[in-house]
């Protein structure tokens, strides 16, 4: 360990990289498959934001709950949702995480503490207060994390939830993934405060802003607020300043971005590259070990796409099932 200046073991570093690489490859592959016309519906890709999901989720186990967003694939993967089931869901197949009934915007796996991607902006914040409340009553030390974008941060549900979590001292973390845009609208236009830390203060919550392209910064800041919440110290807000590499959804021409913005970000602000450079140049992980992960992940994604394409469609009777638990 002499060459490892990081607060994580070599195995943990490789695990973090594997999570981020899995998310990246999953999303890059969807981008390609979507363009072929094989994937139905709306797909919102998380590429560029991997360090946020990975850095936060490394502190969680299955008893901890997360409430995700429309841009949820990265949260799912980092929380341990099966990649094959996710892919099959996105293809609308019966082997999918939601048996093909939810699609990209609604992937959930409650057994993993993943309470669902969500098509309604801000909807996760009240739900995660419920998760925090349940954890408190059960006394199991579980925490709840709700993710929302800079855009969704302006939903009443989010603001009400911050107050609720504060007065009830819930073990809940509000994570703003601030990628600068809500669809085509900039955060500068839509959000009145310059820093979400200021907003948190207005609700009596401690807040911290980190560079969301820096895995280690996210990991450290998340570790602190999560530990505090677990120990009964109450809710907090974590703002991750991040980047969305693709359009809002697949098919978005992105004319609202600056010329060359995507290229610049891919070149200079790619959280995966930044991570790989840091750990390899410190000598904590070798380049060979990184490329082994790359190859394994590439094979996993290939297999997931292959099996999703070959998987059976839902049978027509599935249309009518599972509206209620009991009829």
């Amino acid at each position: 360990m002499t060459n490892n200046p990081f607060p994580l073991s070599k195995d943990e570093l490789l695990a973090a990289y594997r999570t981020m690489r899995t998310i990246r490859d999953f999303e890059e592959r969807l981008h390609v498959e979507f363009a072929k016309g094989d994937i139905p519906g709306f797909v919102h890709l998380y590429a560029g934001e991997e360090a946020c999901a990975a850095g936060i989720m490394m502190h969680l186990t299955d008893i901890d709950r997360i409430a995700s967003t429309h841009r949820g694939h990265g949260h799912c993967i980092a929380k341990g949702v099966d990649v094959h089931e996710m892919m099959a869901e996105i293809y609308g197949k019966s082997t999918g995480a939601c048996r093909g009934k939810g699609g990209s915007m609604h992937i959930a796996d409650l057994s993993k503490g993943m309470m669902g991607a969500n098509g309604i902006l801000g909807a996760g914040a009240p739900l995660i207060c419920g998760a925090g409340l349940a954890a408190k009553f059960r006394g199991d030390g579980g925490v709840g994390i709700t993710f929302f974008g800079d855009g969704a941060s302006n939903q009443g549900t989010v603001l009400e939830s911050m107050n609720l979590a504060a007065i009830w001292n819930l073990p809940v973390i509000f994570v703003v993934e601030n990628n600068g845009y809500a669809e085509s609208t900039s955060v500068e236009y839509a959000t009145a405060v310059d820093s979400y830390v200021d907003r948190a203060a207005g609700f009596g919550l401690p807040g911290v802003t980190v560079d969301g392209t820096d895995f280690f910064a996210v990991h450290e800041a998340a570790g602190e607020v999560i530990r505090r919440a677990r120990e009964g110290g109450g809710p907090a807000l974590l703002e991750c300043k991040t980047i969305r590499f693709f359009g809002h959804f697949e098919g978005d021409a992105q004319t609202y971005k600056a010329k060359g913005e995507n290229d610049y970000n891919r070149e200079n602000r790619d959280c995966l590259r930044i991570f790989a450079n840091r750990v390899t140049s410190a000598g904590a992980v070798s380049e060979a070990e990184i490329s082994l992960v790359d190859r394994e992940v590439a094979a996993l994604i290939d297999a997931a796409v292959e099996s999703a394409k070959g998987a059976p469609l839902p049978s027509p009777r599935e249309l009518l099932t599972d509206v209620y638990v009991a009829y």
Binding site: G102, I120, N154, T185, S186, Y256, K257, A258, K259
Partner: protein, 339 residues
Amino acid sequence: MARKISYKQAINEALDLEMRRDPTVIVLGEDIVGGAGAPGELDAWGGVLGVTKGLHAKHGNRLMDTPLSESAYIGAAIGAAACGMRPVAELMFLDFMGVCFDQILNQAAKFKYMFGGKAKTPVVIRAMVGAGFRAAAQHSQMLTPLFTHVPGLKVVCPSNAYDAKGLLIQSIRDDDPVIFCEHKALYGSEADVPEESYAIPFGEANIVREGKDVTIVSYGLTVHRALDAAEKLAKTGVQAEVIDLRTLSPIDWDTVIESVENTGRLVVVDEANPRCSIAGDVAAHVAQNAFGALKAAPQMVTAPHTPVPFSPVLEDLYIPSADAIAAAVTKTTARALAA
């Protein structure tokens, strides 16, 4: 002069014409211009599906992008309407009513009555409705019955480009709050639409096909399914009359009743879920008011009592099909044929 334009263009044109005519008309919603505060182009989106594209160049800051705060901006549109403006607010997907319903249900809908007739709230809330986009349970619903249930709201759902233009113009001029439902699967559909301005009065259904054997009542996308069914039925010698309600509140009972009195049979087609639906409402009204004319029990063809599924194979079963409509018609004619 009429020319062929799409449903989407027709809506754009109606907004443009009304903004020219009346300076109190303002348009607000999420990304309706697009690119606000961003480094790239302005009018980058013109709405999530480009319906308001180009209007910013003509009307400038009378189009306002909003934060993702539906309670606040839908409510602000309602408040501005109560103060003399004629705002047209875009709610993107009607499913998002969930986050702002109080402003619609307890505020806009109630002012006129609750304030003893002294208020008026000429707001239009435009939103996409309906399934078929593989957009799953939270972006595909036909929630029209939730709004028709509420006294004080008007509910409009055009099935074609001509109606979209005329009904939107009427909606903007109307002094009551209007929920203007745009079926997303119809945006590309074209019709002959006059260039000039015209308003289609509320509460006037359109008989889109005449027939003597059965009355099929519908609105929105399923009008087209009903027409397909009528086409098929014609080959078997059954002449279906197809009525497009166009506005659900107010609703043109007279046209429906008159038609059923001629045909003796009723099939109502509704993309909404069946319980407490437009279909149930029309069937009940006809049963109560034209019972003597009925030769068979009214039939309802609706979405099933389920959320909208994602998988295309399931979603295709969800929306009432021409076959299902034809089968329902056959149920109403079966007895007559047997007799």
